[in-house]
Symmetry: C2
Subunit: 352 residues, 2 copies
């Protein structure tokens, strides 16, 4: 109860913690960000009950829509603690669009949901600027979203950020398909954690090791631990579409919660086994820092973090070099990190 | 830090507050709920990176996709305080599908995002059962979702629930269209708050008036205040589609944050004025209880709550009786609550 909230005064929504005027100001701020993502299929403008997107001109024969939702998890806490909100929206877009691209889809449009303890228009402006940046990178239009003020449920500076992406793919082009023994596994670099494992990373680095987000990420590092942990997620979707234009990709696996093996397992048919070799790619230093700070076991690290591989592509043996070239030309480091072998019964995926 | 989390023990994700096993158990629980919503266009099953939905058989000439996202706001606090999680999912579906139905779209599919402080599989089971119930009511398939455990950011019992809905409409059938002077405004009943105004309602009833959720909703009521506040949102979408089959609907306005006038204003063209007459419909008692408990002004009540009208339909004067018949046949109370008049310049909407 605020000091001015007396028992006999009329209670207002604002005194109850919801500021409609702040919401309206935030909407004004974000309009330009939203419009910067529009593609020709977007119909109408900001402000309707729903966003409209025309399918008429895409020219698919038998189109499937592919949809996914995900949030940034407790990476939001790092943004809050450092007061840096400009890139967390990129993370939000990456999580959902790379999920749908993993099924072979071209991202079409995106919606965001931001909940906050207290609505500060300038913070919303930063967050949505990042979402718009992510949408432009992914080539999808930001056609809707929601801001919601949750007094009592969240602290004033707290926020959560959730995204929702829809894409389209020809039914005949849906992935995964026909993963088979002999196929090779290409790993595409992730320089940071993306949005996974932050609860463990925070506990290890901040609580156990008593590190501060302001200090260097590691001895002699030129950037802070906060900057390192806020590193925006790579959006792989455009490179994945490009890869498919040149190579017969059998499957993509987006490495999120569960780590490399669990996510690869999701795209494997029966009677095959995927073997990933640790040491075949460069693991970014932040993972070793977390492991050391929390005395985390190798097995736990492998189940929680991407360890430097944010996306896996399964390709025919003969396409490996072309695949590596395409991905590197798109600006990502990539390696052959494993292979598909024959197996018995249910599929298996191991990091060895 | 848990009692067993010693400085020299290996730190695990579970000790950091994220229980992957609980997540997997929850996924097993919800599979049957998810499948209960499937319609023929759904491709594949639970577990892919994205949900797949075939557009091929819908047979539209120039289809527009319509998408919306919304959450249940702090209605989640009422569910938490009463330990009743079975219907909040219906609310979540209602918010998004009725937004897209307001633009004339048929809901096709839905995705949900649940964040929790601590993942309790049995609670997730209840929440998703409600989401599936809502999807069946709305006729849309639940093709994806995400559960996210946020230790540190949320208390163990806290949760947030966000929904995303996608529908389709022929471009020539998009609403609003051609609202004009002489049109009548039909109000469709909402027996409760839907998902709006809960921060004010809680502050007024629980803090100001010191009411308990366990006591009768009002003197001699046969149900508790908690049950009253948890009353699930009506899902209007099927009735809205039915209404369009019989009546030349010019516009729908989903009454959410901002209240009756602000939401109606969103669908009005220039040079018209909408006048809603209070007293022309039955206002559910809960609104008077909130107003009295918080000494809330009439104007504030009108800007925050739906006051008993969850959906408005603008119809030609000659279609009023048919419209009322269709809506009532679909099981909702409905009234003529106002009309469209000529105006000058920007549109106006007033509750008088």
């Amino acid at each position: 109860m605020s000091p001015r909230d007396r028992e006999d005064d009329p209670l207002t929504y604002r005194e109850a913690g919801v500021d409609i005027a702040a919401g309206e100001k935030a909407v004004e701020f974000i309009k330009a960000h939203v419009r910067s993502t529009f593609r020709p299929e977007v119909v109408g403008d900001v402000g309707g009950f729903g966003g409209l997107f025309s399918l008429g001109k895409l020219g698919h024969r038998d189109p499937l829509l592919v949809a996914s939702t995900d949030g940034v998890g407790t990476k939001s806490i790092i943004a809050r603690l450092t007061g840096r909100y400009r890139t967390i929206g990129i993370d939000c877009v990456a999580m959902s669009v790379d999920d749908i691209a993993s099924q072979g889809a071209e991202p079409l449009f995106f919606l965001d949901y931001v909940s906050v303890g207290k609505l500060v228009p300038e913070t919303i402006d930063e967050i949505v600027a990042g979402i718009a940046e992510g949408c432009r990178q992914a080539g999808c239009a930001l056609i809707g979203g929601e801001m919601s003020e949750h007094p009592d449920a969240m602290e004033p500076g707290e926020f959560d950020l959730v995204g929702f992406a829809v894409g389209v793919v020809e039914r005949s082009e849906v992935l995964p398909r026909s993963v088979r023994p002999g196929d090779q596994i290409i790993g595409i670099a992730s320089p940071g954690l993306r949005c996974n494992g932050y609860s463990l990373a925070r506990r290890a680095l901040l609580d156990r090791a008593g590190r501060s987000l302001d200090e260097p990420a590691w001895p002699a590092a030129q950037h802070s631990l906060g900057e390192e942990l806020l590193r925006p997620s790579v959006i792989y979707a455009p490179s994945m579409l490009e890869l498919r234009r040149h190579v017969d990709v059998r499957a993509f696996a987006h490495v999120t919660g569960g780590g490399i093996a669990d996510n690869l397992l999701r795209v494997l048919p029966e009677h095959v086994e995927a073997v990933i070799k640790r040491g075949s790619w460069d693991e970014p230093r932040i993972f070793a820092e977390i492991q050391a700070a929390g005395s985390v076991t190798d097995r736990e690290m492998e189940q929680v973090f991407n360890l430097g591989l944010g996306m896996l592509a399964v390709v025919p043996n003969g396409d490996v070099f072309r695949a590596l070239d395409v991905v590197r030309s798109a600006g990502h480091e990539a390696w052959t990190v494993g292979e598909i072998r024959g197996g018995h019964g249910a599929a298996r995926a191991v990091v060895a």
